[in-house]
């Protein structure tokens, strides 16, 4: 291998300055494009007020929302009364006055204590075990919080005062003396301690009550117990078998609404399927009119092509809003929207495929005196059919995704349900569940459509 010396290199570059210098125009264009992009992005930053919006965002709550995707909180509340403590749970919680989580332990109230209302359990001492030795111990006169080996002692006079003995540790905050104290256990949860009550938020990984909600007799049982009940137990509900009851409880789970979610998912699938199929069926004959080499009339070609352009360019969103008004919210609106948009798309693609066919087969058919219909049937269709079907299959899969989005504006399907779950800001675990369901369905359809397309036109179908 010969190596060029420095002088040789310089000699070469002097002999061919045009090769090494590059053209001014190219350099200038590069700079102009770069500067233009920077200027445009700066404009966009100002136009959308990106800085202000990002700074004004509620980023603290974003972490909670994200955590809600894969975890849940149980929120017992402990009220201070003069001589006792009342334990209660939020209204839709699976825990009740007679059903407590294992990590919440309490001693019964003294015999002289006054009685609590029916939906609350009363106690003389409550211990909430958060994590290992971290715990909150509540008595009618005070709260003791242990976190990471440190202890915080808070004296309480119910409904009157709250006082801390000594310094506050780093994991506890109090805005002003005498106000509520917030203790933070990291992911495991937090608690707000006030002179009136203690609000505990204990967070766990996983999805709460995914199969059975708090109303179900199967709630809180282990898989083994449930299987034993389903296959050999006494009938819990005399009207139906245990297996039927279990299925009914799962489908009508009030927190996850499995039945409703599945129906909505099916609607989305149906919207994509029927919309794509009808669009293919209508676009197929119309494409013959639009193809220049098949219909010789230029006017007919142009009219058909502009019609396709119109259907395609009026966005799927407009069609969706339009048909939602016409047919009311539901899958018919979604089907119609997909049908209209994709008739345009398919018409364009099909007529392009028809214009690219090999003319020899048609000539052959014509030369033996076949009727015009037979010429198309045997001379054209066999050439293009695999390509057309493959394009429809590709769009079938892609429409399953689009159907989710137009659903959110009222065109039916899982989109609307997803949107409602997001708007309430408290059901992010349901959002995660539906997203997972959508991803699985899209994945399955993607594979079906790819497999079918590969069988139809060989390995060319890589997209």
């Amino acid at each position: 291998m010969t190596t060029l010396s420095l002088t040789q290199m310089q000699a070469i570059s002097e002999r061919h300055p045009d090769v090494f210098a590059g053209s001014w125009r190219k350099t200038l264009t590069g700079w102009a494009v770069g500067l233009g992009l920077v200027a445009y992005l700066a404009f966009a930053w100002w136009f959308f007020a990106v800085g202000a919006v990002l700074a004004g965002g509620n980023w603290g709550i974003a972490g909670t929302y994200l955590a809600d995707w894969v975890s849940y909180e149980v929120r017992p509340q402990i009220d201070f009364k003069d001589d006792r403590l009342d334990i209660s749970y939020p209204r839709f919680s699976a825990y009740r006055a007679d059903r407590h989580p294992q990590w919440l332990k309490f001693e019964p109230p003294s015999a002289t204590a006054s009685a609590a209302s029916a939906n609350k359990a009363s106690a003389s001492r409550v211990t909430v075990e958060i994590d290992g030795s971290d715990r909150i111990e509540v008595t009618p006169t005070g709260v003791v919080v242990t976190n990471g080996g440190e202890t915080l002692d808070i004296a309480i006079v119910p409904a009157k005062s709250i006082t801390v003995a000594g310094e506050l540790p780093t994991w506890a905050t109090q805005k002003k003396p005498g106000e509520k104290i917030t203790v933070d256990f990291g992911f495991a949860g937090s608690a707000q301690i006030d002179a009136d009550d203690v609000n505990v938020r204990h967070r766990f990984f996983g999805w709460e009550n995914f199969f059975f909600d708090g109303h179900s007799p199967y709630w809180g049982k282990s898989t083994g117990e449930i299987l034993a009940l389903v296959f050999s137990g006494e009938r819990i509900d005399p009207k139906m078998s245990n297996a039927a009851l279990a299925w009914d409880n799962i489908v009508n789970n009030s927190e996850w609404q499995h039945g409703d979610v599945w129906i909505k998912m099916l609607q989305t699938i149906v919207m994509a399927f029927v919309g794509t199929l009808f669009a293919s069926l209508l676009a197929f004959p119309l494409a013959f009119l639009a193809a220049r080499n098949i219909t010789q009339n230029r006017l007919v070609n142009q009219v058909a092509k502009r019609f396709f352009d119109f259907l395609r360019s009026v966005d799927m969103l407009i069609w969706a809003l339009f048909f939602t008004r016409a047919f009311g919210p539901g899958p018919i609106a979604g089907i119609s929207a997909i049908f209209f948009t994709d008739t345009g798309t398919f018409g364009k693609l099909y007529s392009e495929a028809l214009e690219n066919i090999d003319d020899k087969q048609r000539e052959g058919m014509r030369s033996v005196g076949a009727s015009p219909v037979s010429v198309q049937r045997y001379g054209v269709v066999p050439q293009v059919l695999p390509v057309l079907i493959s394009q429809s299959l590709y769009f079938w899969e892609s429409n399953t995704r689009s159907a989710t989005i137009i659903g959110a504006v009222g065109a039916g399907g899982i989109g609307l349900k997803l949107w409602e779950a997001m708007r309430t800001n408290s059901d992010w675990e349901n959002v995660a569940y539906m997203v997972l369901l959508i991803l699985v369905v899209v994945f399955i359809f993607d594979n079906i459509s790819t497999t079918l397309r590969q069988r139809l036109i060989g390995n060319k179908a890589s997209h």
């Binding site: 959308f48 016409a326 892609s398 989710t404």
Partner: protein, 317 residues
Amino acid sequence: MTMPLSEAGLAVEQHWRELASRRRLYTAGGLFFLFIALSGSLWFANDSNAGKFFDRLPHFFDFVDQMIPRDVFDIWRAMFDLPSPYADGSLKFDYPEGRMYLFGSFYLPEYVYKMLETINIALVSTLIGFAFGFLLCFLAASNLVTQRWLRFFVRRFLEILRAFPEIVIAGFFLAVLSMGAIPAIIAVSLHTIGALGKMFFEVVENADMKADEGLRAVGGNWPERVWFGIVPQVMPNFLSYALLRLEINVRASTIIGAVGGGGIGEVLRLSISRNHEAKTIAIIILLFCTIVAVDQFSAWLRKRLVGEQAFAFGRGD
């Protein structure tokens, strides 16, 4: 003319007949299955719709009727924010209210401004998607990266970005940042990174490796090989895919706008649901013209960049 076939010929014919009849059976079976699936789907769709198809069909044109404004020029006035002779103080005819004064008495009509907002959302998202898709695609190409795990990781990452419903990302950021265009930009950008990244690495994998080999022979390192060997070849294709994506993103940002992401989608949804017929038609005309213009412009530019090359099925997601 007909000659009796020999024994071998008869066997061939027999075989052909068997094949043909089996084929016909499969076709009939397939069509039958399709028919059953279709009828079931139609029944289900009709059953779970708020209005039933055949009940609603006679009233279909009532709605179209309601969409016709009092006079044709009202559409014009709605589009350019001119005062309407029917103005009665209601939201329906308050066209001049939405004027965006830029300087002096020169103003942008409300819907033109909103349309520009939507186009800018699409443009910014496409730029962001292009930048990150560009950076990631070389790491996913099997002819440039020998580490399997890296390729696998980048490809799965792009796949997740592409398959994750845009509307969920938009919804999440709408909850964090409140209503506005930024959630739409984030959602569309993330999807664009996934979609363009996939297109790009397929282009890179089909690139001619001779330039790369030459650079390797003179001792170029990895970034140099990519920058001088691959990028000049693939750039025209990258740009034309990005233009295709821009068309898709204009539509996508309109839809995201309709669910709270700002821009023309939002005003369209509001005016349809409030029965503001002149405004609705003005917006639809504006949107239609914009989409046609963007499509034509991008088709023209693409043709200049890569010639008559056709692209995968027009949508490319």
